[in-house]
Subunit: 483 residues, 3 copies
């Protein structure tokens, strides 16, 4: 082993040499705003389906069993991870995995002894690979050649999403394309917004959850498997889960649970992300968007604010959402009484109405300032956001683009507060309730929501007073002139 690691130095030389080469696929962007941006080199890895091309070095055609000869020296860590995988140990599978293997072999029409580098980075079953031309980053479709059911489940998310929105939005299976639809993402430095890509890449990469190259199912069944994307100010899922009673029990007791069991057999005494979100009407699957209303922040506390539709009305008028709610209740009932489950989720909706009221009031304040010409600066007097961001009303009064771009008064602080109010805090009250995290929806989200509401009212007050003073002054000056 030691010898292997000492080869690293040599291998680096190759790496350094290879690294300067740009693949031609990086010439232009893709998606509706593709003309406005150019990919950066790392996007080859975030969206390999769109941008990947092999490095120029090494050249040559390699046999399937030659890969590790070099990569064990060059990247010992990744080879070691693969050596720990089921792919490398098809003879040591668990019973349920053996059944899966038998099915895969039946589909492929041949026996498998191992799944090696070339099967995923070239073609399934390939015997050799032209490194410079054929090397590929595996996509869900490629994984799906063996893992058919899982792939189909994952792809089926494309049929779900937010009612009245494009199908599959929001879903994991169209996450990257959702990114491409965002004007401000297209507009700003890709070195920054590749942060969006790193999560939204899940459309192109099964290893978002099943981390390479060990791909342990036991790992992807753990809440931590979700946390790299599902954390932070706009979706603190893992934070809310971790500190909830559900999460606390997991943290204390989880290490004693059998993570090798498929979810349907595991039945932990406390839920995980997976055991709730992958469950739907008695089954567990890779379609995780059939119960919850994804993107609630955008619909409940933004779109609907402009329409004046409060959450309980919106929800109860949607047959689809009401049916998802019933499926949600079924999850809770596994451990809680049906009366409690229903009452609790009802209270989440009613709480959302209170949130909605504050967001609507804040918006009304800003809208009124805008209509009276008191915003400072007014949209016409400030820099425009770069193309393709189209600043259309009401989006120009605190729209999402302000999350990633700002310039000299666009946005001003009152609109930025509003942006955070609907984009983060409002939704998080609901999310805190959904994840049974009491601080999550009170001292964290509700308090933050009120803080911004307060700042908005005080700022509006100051803007009005300044405008009034300037008006008097102007009038005075005019009078003086006219005297």
């Amino acid at each position: 082993m030691k010898g292997v690691w000492s080869f690293v130095g040599l291998a680096i030389l190759c790496g350094v040499f290879c690294s300067g080469i740009e693949a031609q696929k990086l010439d232009k962007g893709v998606g509706p705003y593709g003309e406005f941006w150019k990919p950066i080199p790392t996007q080859r890895y975030w969206a390999p389906n769109y941008f990947y091309s092999p490095p120029e070095e090494p050249k040559g055609v390699y046999q399937a069993d030659e890969c590790t000869l070099c990569h064990k020296a060059l990247n010992p860590g990744l080879v070691k991870a693969w050596e720990e995988s089921s792919h490398a140990n098809l003879d040591k599978l668990l019973d349920y995995q053996k059944e899966k293997l038998a099915e895969i072999e039946k589909n492929l029409g041949r026996k498998l002894t191992k799944v090696g580098c070339i099967d995923c980075h070239g073609k399934v079953g390939a015997e050799k690979l032209d490194h410079e031309k054929e090397l590929a980053m595996p996509s869900p479709a490629l994984c799906g050649e063996c893992h058919k059911q899982e792939y189909q489940e994952f792809e089926s998310e494309k049929q779900y999403g937010i009612p009245d929105w494009k199908p599959g939005r929001e879903s994991h299976a169209k996450a990257y394309d959702a990114n491409l639809d965002v004007d401000v993402w297209a507009a700003v430095d890709k070195n920054i917004v590749q942060g969006c890509d790193m999560c939204h890449s899940i459309q192109h990469k099964c290893d978002s959850c099943h981390t390479r190259h060990a791909f342990k199912a036991s790992e992807s069944r753990r809440p931590e498997a979700c946390q790299t994307c599902h954390n932070g100010p706009d979706h603190p899922d893992i934070e809310f889960y971790r500190d909830s009673k559900h999460g606390s029990i997991y943290l204390i007791d989880g290490k004693n649970w059998d993570w090798n069991k498929p979810l349907k057999d595991a039945k932990y005494i406390s839920p995980t992300c997976q055991s709730c979100h992958m469950y739907y009407k008695g089954q567990y699957s890779h379609n995780m968007v059939r119960k919850a209303i994804m993107g609630e922040g955008d619909v409940l506390f933004y779109d609907n604010v402009f329409k004046g539709i409060k959450p309980t009305d919106y929800l109860k008028n949607s047959k689809e959402l009401m049916s998802r709610r019933e499926a949600w209740i079924e999850v809770c009932v596994q451990c809680h009484s049906p009366r409690f489950s229903r009452d609790y989720l009802d209270s989440m909706d009613k709480a959302s109405d209170s949130v909605f009221q504050y967001v609507s009031d804040a918006y009304a304040t800003i809208k009124s300032l805008y209509e009276e010409g008191i915003l400072s600066p007014m949209p016409e007097n400030r820099p425009k956001a770069p193309a393709p961001v189209a600043e259309k009303y009401p989006d120009l009064l605190g729209g999402f683009y302000g999350e990633f771009w700002a310039k000299n008064g666009n946005q001003s602080r009152i609109e930025k507060d509003f942006l955070y109010m609907w984009e983060n805090d409002a939704f998080l009250v609901r999310k805190g309730l959904a994840h049974m995290n009491p601080n999550g929806f009170t001292y964290i989200s509700w308090s933050n929501l009120l803080k911004k509401y307060v700042d908005i009212q005080s700022e509006a007050n100051a803007l009005r007073r300044l405008a009034a003073l300037e008006k008097k002054k102007l009038r005075a000056r005019t009078k003086t002139k006219n005297r």
Copy 2:
């Protein structure tokens, strides 16, 4: 097992049917402000002593051994948790638990083979239960029928609390009633402030720490058992512990410790929440409020700000608090030198004086604006908080009610900053020190405190300048008129 889970669908039907029924106990609130609010359905579960009544379905009388027949299908998770409990496995107890059992049996005057659903959800030792009429959510008093000592220890908290405050405030044993005493809690949407209930329910529910239905003592001895309530911006106990050296050692090494041992025998090499907070003069108990000064934020950095009493003076003049301090030092000395322990806690008090100075200065600024009529809006020109919130001086200048309610300038941002300053940051400097978390009291709390102090001073400056301009303008206008 599989068969059992497939019954869920059927069982749901019952749940759905039962859920529409409102118990009559939800008619009116309780406590000093009971007339101002009406409970929501979920409060049946947060304060069962006050609001619980059984669902209308199922009807009928059930024998003790019939419960799991239905609930195994309806709520398999909770039955599974119970099956893992000591209650279900009285034949597999640890030695110290056997002693406890013997004592319990002696008190009850009979042998126990198991503790089942009916014992806790009906009456201890009951043989049958009229589900529609007799089903109950267990209270500490009910748990105390068997667990006498633990119950008595828990109840004994009612004699402690903050000197000069109501007895038992702050304590776990009167936590829910403390909630009921808060005017703003009574005033706002219960669907939001049930977040307060979910923690303050500890007065009514032993399963806040001993989570149902496994009730593992080994779980309740872990810091994570406390975290669902003890986290967040106003009391980041678990956050401060986790990142402290104490917590780091626990996180690394804790899984190797024997959590089945009672605290008095365990003697971990790093403290947990329990090993410090349950300790008092050589004993461990369920009374956790005999050493620390609970509610410090309210006393040290709010009440005393108005009185002008700085922390070191307040503390050294209280015989009771000085005696608690001595008990606190005893805990530290288990691992640290007495000189270090004493000096360190002294430095926490002296640091509190520095905090106090900033809070007092900020308050003086706001008070002065108020007296000069420069707050904007002035209390008389803004919406009143809903009853029963009584906006009395000094509470109207940044009082606690602003944490949960706001409307158009009540509170304005300068008062909101002050609220967060005393309610969160000030106290957290002290808490960070108490939990030996260096960032906790510097870059987190002290910095946040100064940030708000700075915002308050700058806002005061802007308010004064605006007022001065408006006054001149007014004067000018008056002069013009009088000319």
Copy 3:
């Protein structure tokens, strides 16, 4: 054991008695600003090399084997921790530890049976100790008498640090002295800024990472060993790691890894703090500052803002930093392709340029307000920071001193926002990228950076409008007078 613990009460008496005594070494500060401050008692423990002196009690000379007689009763926790240490169990060492022991014994010229209290708190190999006169807190130099190589590696950090800065700044090995160089640290209440000491004490205390008294190497190899210092708003290293995919794998799988192996043999399938930061060109050592650019916030986004040098230019013009980068890439390549590794770190630099632009724009705004006399209050009209803080341009426009001290407009909120912008957010975009935490550099840091940028622009706008109004008013008044 029980008997031992009941002695605590007695032992406390001694502690209480001893605690009133101040050591003479606490008379005055040390370092360049030593004349401006006096140490507090706890600093004896944060910087024992400078301030420690033994307590007056107990008096007398004790034999090596007498220590635990008393301390087992007085501080059972610390004795228990020592009993778990390798120091107490030299007969149960792992193979690689036996080799180390043999080497140590060769250097000392004698066999060791155990390493006891007196060896570290007195002199290595001492047989007795005059408690009142000779008791010492061990320094790295003392640990280095046995652990030569580790000590030398640690000390070697003093030769590294930020190019063009004092050698060893930033390094662990000169961390406390770096503290002493900070004017605001010298100026403010030591009870507060001992929070800085508690981390910067690493210069004087190996037990910052190797926590006493068990000193388990298996513990110090875990990421949690770093977290007590490396967390929080100014350096959320552990937070960014924990939620990254690297950290998630560690959290899930790490407990199965063999922590008893030295890093060079361990080769985990996901990196830890240690496996990246202690690695340098094929070797692991206690010098952790040879790859990264420490203190980047101060250089890239502060010093260089005033000089107008953007990050990519600064980095590519430094031979030293470019060579560190190559060493950094070698770490990534252990698991990632060289092309990806290089491209990714390049994108981190390019992202830094975008950050730099916002910081520069914000600074230009504040500088312009300053030059026009519009800051409110202007530096000449506000309280001066206490000595030895020298408010020199540009530091007076949002310099570091504002992190720990504020008074009535010094700093004002626009400068405070700028301070947080360069000191926290700007750097954290880079840190989030470095630690592969997508939310870390987008919704957390980039968003926070833009929020402050926006607040600064809006505040500047308000300040300008107020100043313009006051100027008119003044002019009007002057005109009236002159009329």
